[in-house]
C-alpha cells in the first residue's frame, strides 16, 4: 500500500481564545476522494489551510505527500492544486487570462481549450473577474486548482452556489481526477455531494472528527435506522423490545403506530414480524427507513442553527 497523501495527527489550531481545531486527526489515501463534512465554523477550512501551508499548527503534525507543508512548501506547491473558498484573482483580470497565468507557472499544464470547455468557461473568458457570477468564479477556481496537473487537489467547497448543470460538470471532473490517479480532499455542506463523490467521509464538528467512514458505513452501521408499522393499538412494546437484538428500542408513538429504532438488520426485521405473528396481529404499512447521510449528520452535529 502506498503512503497516505495527507496525514493529520492531533492537530490543534487556535485563534486567540477560540480553538478552531481541537485534536483532529485524518488520513487521505492516495488516489481517493475524501470529504470533510461539517457545519459552518467546524474547523474544515482551518484544517485544509494548514495542509496548504498557510498556517502553523499550535500542536500536532501535518504531512502532505510525505512533506511538511510549511518547511517544504517550495517542493510541495507545484504538486498540490488549491481552490480557496472564495477570491484568489485580481478584480480586473479576465477569466481566461487568469487561468493562462496560473498555467504559465507550471511545467506541463493541462491544454487550455479542453479545460475551458469542460468547465463551461468559454462564454465568460473575456469577462473581468469582478463581473463573473459566483458560479463562474467557482468554476475558474476549480480550473486554477487542476491546471498544473497536480498529484493532490484540495478543494474548499468546490460546488457551493453552482447550478445543477455546473455542479454535475464539477462532479464529473472531480471523479475523473480520482480515476486518473489524483488524490482529492474536499469540504462540503452537501450530503448528496459527499455521498456521491467520496470514498471516505470525515464528519467534523467543533474542531473534532465526530464520525468517519465510507458513506455506506456512516448511513448503516453508524446510524440508528427505523422500522415503522401499524397494528392494533395498545400492544405490549416492552415484550417486543425484549425480543429484539440488543441496542434496539420499540415504542408506540401514536395509537396503533409503532416504531423500532436501532441497528436494523434482516434479523431485526424477522424478529418484528414473528413477534407480530405470536401476538396474532398483522403489521400493516411495514416500512424500513434507512437513514440518509443528512440524518446522520444532523444526529451527530445537532439540529439547532448556529451563528
Amino acid at each position: 500500500m502506498t503512503a497516505p497523501a495527507v496525514k493529520v495527527r492531533d492537530l490543534v489550531m487556535r485563534y486567540g481564545a477560540t480553538t478552531a481545531v481541537d485534536g483532529l486527526s485524518l488520513t487521505v489515501e492516495t488516489g481517493t476522494i475524501t470529504a470533510i463534512l461539517g457545519p459552518n465554523g467546524a474547523g474544515k477550512t482551518t484544517t485544509m489551510e494548514t495542509c496548504e501551508g498557510y498556517r502553523r499548527p499550535h500542536s500536532g503534525t501535518v504531512r502532505v505527500l510525505g512533506l511538511d507543508p510549511l518547511a517544504q512548501h517550495r517542493e510541495l506547491s507545484p504538486r498540490v492544486g488549491v481552490m480557496l473558498q472564495s477570491g484568489g484573482a485580481w478584480s480586473a483580470v479576465r477569466a481566461e487570462e487568469m487561468l493562462r497565468y496560473v498555467a504559465s507557472l507550471h511545467a506541463s499544464p493541462l491544454p487550455f481549450a479542453p479545460l475551458v470547455e469542460r468547465l463551461g468557461l468559454g462564454s465568460c473568458g473575456r469577462t473581468p473577474y469582478r463581473r463573473l457570477s459566483g458560479g463562474q468564479q467557482k468554476r475558474l477556481g476549480l480550473a486554477m486548482a487542476v491546471v498544473g496537473r497536480p498529484e493532490l487537489v484540495i478543494l474548499d467547497e468546490p460546488t457551493a452556489g453552482l447550478d445543477p448543470q455546473a455542479r454535475r460538470a464539477a462532479w464529473d471532473l472531480i471523479e475523473q481526477l480520482a480515476a486518473s490517479g489524483v488524490t482529492v480532499l474536499l469540504t462540503t455542506h452537501h450530503m448528496e455531494e459527499a455521498e456521491r463523490l467520496a470514498a471516505f467521509i470525515y464528519v467534523v464538528d467543533r474542531g473534532r472528527v465526530v464520525s468517519s467512514g465510507s458513506p455506506a458505513e456512516l448511513t448503516s452501521s453508524g446510524a440508528r435506522n427505523t422500522i415503522r408499522f401499524r397494528a392494533a393499538p395498545g400492544l405490549d412494546t416492552a415484550s417486543l423490545a425484549a425480543a429484539l437484538p440488543a441496542g434496539c428500542t420499540a415504542h408506540e408513538y401514536a395509537p396503533g403506530a409503532y416504531q423500532v429504532d436501532g441497528p436494523v438488520t434482516p434479523q431485526t426485521l424477522a424478529t418484528v414480524t414473528s413477534w407480530c405473528a405470536a401476538q396474532g396481529v398483522m403489521p400493516e404499512s411495514l416500512a424500513v427507513e434507512r437513514h440518509t447521510l443528512e440524518d446522520v449528520f444532523l444526529q451527530l452535529t445537532g439540529r439547532e442553527l448556529r451563528s
Binding site: G53, Y54, W90, Y101, S104, R118, M144, P150
Partner: protein, 258 residues
Amino acid sequence: MTSLDLSPAPGAQPLPHMVAAHALMETRLLLRNGEQLLLAIAIPLLLLVGGAEAGGLIDLGPGRRIDVLTPGVLALAVLSTSFTSLAIATAFERRYGVLKRLGASPLPRSGLLLGKVASLLVIEAVQLSLIAALALALGWRPSGGVYAVAAVGLLVTLGTSAFAALGLLMAGTLRAEATLAAANLVYVVLLAAGAVVVPLAKYPEWMQPVVAALPSGALAEGLREVTAGAPLGWQRLAVLACWSAGAAAVAVRTFRWE
C-alpha cells in the same frame, strides 16, 4: 467533449520564467487601469506642460524653468509608480485573496517580489522616456553627459527601492481602503511639501533639513543636481538607502499576506 488527460504531471517553471510571467501580468493589469495610468503618465506630462507654460504661477527659483521642472517631474513619476500604485495594487491583492492564492502556487514569495519590481521598472522606463521626450521637445537641456545618465539611473533605482519598500509596508499592514486613501494622501503631501517639483532652496530655511531627509526630497534634489551638471551628492544616496533598508526591515516583520 474533447478528452482531457488529468493524470498527474506536476512541476514548476524555472524561476526566471515565473517572474517574467508575473511581471507581464501585473504590467498588463496596470495598463488596463485608467486611474493608475492617469497617475503614472497623464499627471506628470500635464504638470510638465503646465509648469513650463505657466511662468509666474509657481516660483521655481533661478535657472531655466524647464531645466528645473523636468527632474522634479521625473521624480514624481517614480513616486507615483513605485509608491502609490504599488501600495494600492498590493493592498487590493491582499484583500481579494490574490496574495493568498499565489502563496499556494509554485511562484515563491521572492519571485512575487521580483515580478513586482520588474513590472515597476518596465512602467518607469515607459514613464521616464515619455517625460524626457516631451521635456526635450519643450526645450529641456540637461547637462552632465554620460555621467549624469548613470547618476540618474542610480538615483531612480535607489528611489524606487525606497518608495517600494514604503509602499509594501503600508499595503501589508493597513486595510485596502485605508491604503487607497493614505497612499494618495502621501502622494499629494510629498508633491506639495516634499521638494518634488519645487526645489529645496525655495522652502523656508527651517524646513530644508527635514525635506532633504525625505525620500522625495533626496530623489528630486539629486536628479536636479546631476542633470544640471553637479556631482552626485552622497547624502542623497544615503537618505534613499536608509529609507530603503529601514522600510524593508519593518515591512518584512509586519507584512500580512491575508
